[in-house]
């Protein structure tokens, strides 16, 4: 009997043990990804390139800013295109701002803040045709990385590459966290955490306004993957203050009411800047993993969560979430509106525009910001991000595969008439 019991236990635990770890997949996968190959050189020569450049074709669109009479369209790693948009029916390319290895920029009044390789720049664009550098914080986003010859890593050249990897190889694992693989001069994989955030750009590939930079008076906040960099702007001098670890996989930042609203892939984080030099975590609203622009509106915030079967964003929801943030210590979800594939948002007056990608654009009534009501759904428009014009309430800009498009809105029936397209 004793032997029988011992045998039975051996059988049971033996099966458990063998089952515990013997599920393996071995083999290879072939994926298309963005291969970033390190470029090394003399950083001082880059810093000496004049800001003002010649107009050129748009090739790799980045951030977009809509000014009253001009448009700024980022050219990844190159700089910023300037368009005269005083006539929204016919925007004209009029110049270019050279910002080598730039990924992100932000405009506040006549000031443009921009990342450029390791540096953070403050540029006066009061005369948009003649930008002037006011201040530069060197190595703001990390210490220089050098190759064997002592040259500094300046940035990366990108190439869409299809390559074969072993399952669970470092490359395959890295591609679960980023669509980019970064290689150094020895063609060794650089962990993404070692790449200065100013080199990596935003966490998603949506062209538009989703910001990595926020400004509050004379403090500027720039998010990396898990770090907020704080700078102080003393009119003529930009100074690095410090950096704080607040969240992971941060994608976008928005300032409102002395708070920073940070969208990550998993949550919306509220950070206090009551001490503007030291942003501190207050609270967090967790949501399913997804792509999630955040748009604060007074005591409320709108978060779009976008996923689908095999979508570009993991998860299983496509909704517009309305949060009550009147108590910032406890953001509360008060409504969820089913969407098709929500991307960016823009609030024009009391109308909230939500880009739905290939599914068009939705217009919601936000007269009561807590209760959004669908007014119109226009599926003839391709709209990933949507941007409000700063002065023309009847003009909205959308980004899509065709480029940046400007539409005239007829609020009587919410129809949209295409008035111009900047192809890219």
């Amino acid at each position: 009997m004793k032997n029988h019991l011992i045998s039975s236990f051996s059988l049971f635990f033996g099966i458990l043990f063998i089952f515990s770890g013997c599920v393996k997949n071995k083999g290879t996968i072939t994926m298309t990804y963005n291969k970033a190959t390190a470029v090394y050189g003399d950083i001082d020569s880059l810093r000496n390139i004049p800001l003002k450049g010649e107009t050129r074709n748009i090739e790799n669109t980045g951030k977009i800013f809509v000014g009253e009479n001009f448009l700024l369209i980022g050219e990844k790693d190159q700089g910023i295109h300037i368009f005269d948009n005083s006539n929204t029916n016919a925007p004209i390319s009029v110049g270019f701002i050279n910002l080598p290895y730039t990924e992100e920029f932000y405009v506040e009044g006549d000031i443009l803040y921009a990342e450029s390789h390791y540096d953070f720049l403050k540029i006066n664009i009061a005369d948009i045709y003649n930008p002037k550098l006011i201040s530069r914080v060197e190595y703001a986003f990390g210490a220089p990385i050098e190759n064997a010859e002592g040259e500094v890593l300046l940035g990366f050249t990108y190439e869409v590459t299809t390559e074969n990897f072993r399952l669970n190889s470092p490359e395959a694992l890295a591609l679960s966290e980023s669509s980019y693989l970064y290689y150094n001069y020895m063609n060794e994989l650089i962990p993404i955490s070692s790449v200065p955030s100013s080199f990596t750009g935003s966490g998603n590939d949506i062209k538009g306004t989703l910001n990595k930079i926020a400004v509050n008076n004379n403090f500027i906040y720039v998010i990396g993957n898990s770090t907020i960099y704080t700078f102080r702007d003393d009119i003529s001098t930009l100074t690095y203050i410090g950096e704080n670890e607040i969240g992971n996989e941060m994608e976008t930042i928005y300032y409102e009411n002395n708070k920073l609203f940070i969208g990550t892939r998993f949550s919306m984080i509220v950070a206090s800047i009551s001490n503007p030099s030291n942003p501190t975590y207050i609270s967090e609203y967790n949501h399913p993993t997804s792509c999630d622009p955040v748009y604060p509106n007074g005591n409320y915030a709108y978060v779009t969560l976008r996923t689908a079967d095999f979508s570009g964003c993991a998860g299983d929801v496509n909704t517009l979430v309305v949060l009550d943030i009147s108590n910032v210590n406890n953001p509360t979800e008060i409504d969820q509106i089913t969407m098709d594939s929500p991307y960016g948002m823009a609030l024009i007056g009391d109308k909230l525009f939500v880009g739905e990608g290939v599914n068009g654009i939705k217009i919601l009534d936000a007269t009561n910001p807590a209760t959004l009501n669908l007014l119109s759904s226009n599926t003839s428009v391709l709209a990933y991000d949507v941007l409000a014009h700063p002065t023309l309430n009847n003009v909205i800009l959308t980004t899509g595969d065709l480029g940046l498009q400007q539409y005239l809105i007829d609020y009587s029936d919410y129809s949209m008439q295409l008035i111009s397209t900047i192809n890219y």
């Binding site: 045998s7 033996g14 063998i18 679960s176 979508s311 570009g312 964003c313």
Partner: protein, 250 residues
């Protein structure tokens, strides 16, 4: 380490079955038209009579014309309480195998060559799933296959619960789906150990623990414009599979 445990498991199983009853010498079973089942040692037989010594020590003389079914000593191993296992003839099996990220349903037919060997073939429906995480999405692949195979068994013991080694070699006809529009067929290999339980009727139960290996080559696609990439794969699935099944003999 895992192999040490597998060895330990086999040893334990062996110890377990040592306690089980051994087959009776010249054991035979006669099922009669009136429902009687006569079980015992076959003493002699000719064309017109069978002489069977039953448990009480009495000897029965059985006319084959009053029997519905006869199991002779060369066909079965007879154990206590009238339980038996086959050692010759044909049998059919149905089995369900499970493992994390795997399931299968197999139907097979086998010829029992002797008390040690059986071999046969069959078909089944197999499912292997896997996922590949990218920054933009989790690509899930569920590969359904119609599998055709040959299999064999080698029995280590003739006790009431018989331990055996089993092997399977087959061809998997993978089914293409919307997510897996490109999929080439593959092979399947399986080897393991099992335990067959004797019973009083023709239905026997068995359990198996086996190493299952199958391969698939194809592409996982995404219809979403923001998906990082379609993913081509060439993957071998290795699974430890727990199988339960029934077999039906003569």
């Amino acid at each position: 380490m895992r192999f040490i445990f597998l060895f330990y498991l086999l040893t334990s199983l062996s110890g377990y079955t040592q306690n089980m009853s051994k087959p009776q010498e010249k054991g035979a079973i006669f099922k009669l038209y009136d429902g009687t089942i006569a079980v015992g040692k076959l003493l002699s037989f000719n064309e017109s009579t069978y002489k069977l010594k039953i448990i009480t020590g009495d000897t029965l003389t059985i006319d084959p014309f009053i029997t519905t079914k006869i199991y002779l000593p060369e066909e079965i191993n007879l154990y206590g309480k009238g339980r038996y296992s086959y050692k010759k003839g044909l049998k059919g099996s149905f089995a369900i195998g499970v493992s994390p990220e795997h399931s299968n349903f197999d139907f097979s037919g086998s010829y029992i060559l002797n008390s040690k060997f059986s071999f046969g073939g069959g078909f089944g429906f197999h499912n292997n799933s896997f996922s590949i995480q990218t920054v933009s999405s989790a690509h899930w692949g569920n590969i359904f296959s119609r599998t055709y195979f040959v299999n064999g068994q080698f029995f280590f013991t003739n006790r009431a619960q018989r331990i055996y080694a089993t092997g399977k070699l087959g061809y998997s006809d993978h089914r293409e789906t919307r997510q897996l529009p490109i999929l080439s067929d593959g092979i399947v290999l399986e080897g393991g150990v099992g335990l067959e339980f004797s019973s009083k009727n023709k239905v026997k139960y068995f359990i198996e623990l086996s190493q299952y290996t199958s391969n698939a080559k194809g592409a996982l696609v995404s219809n979403d414009v923001n998906a990082l990439s379609d993913i081509e794969f060439d993957i071998w699935f290795h699974r430890i599979v727990f199988t339960m099944g029934i077999q039906i003999g003569k």
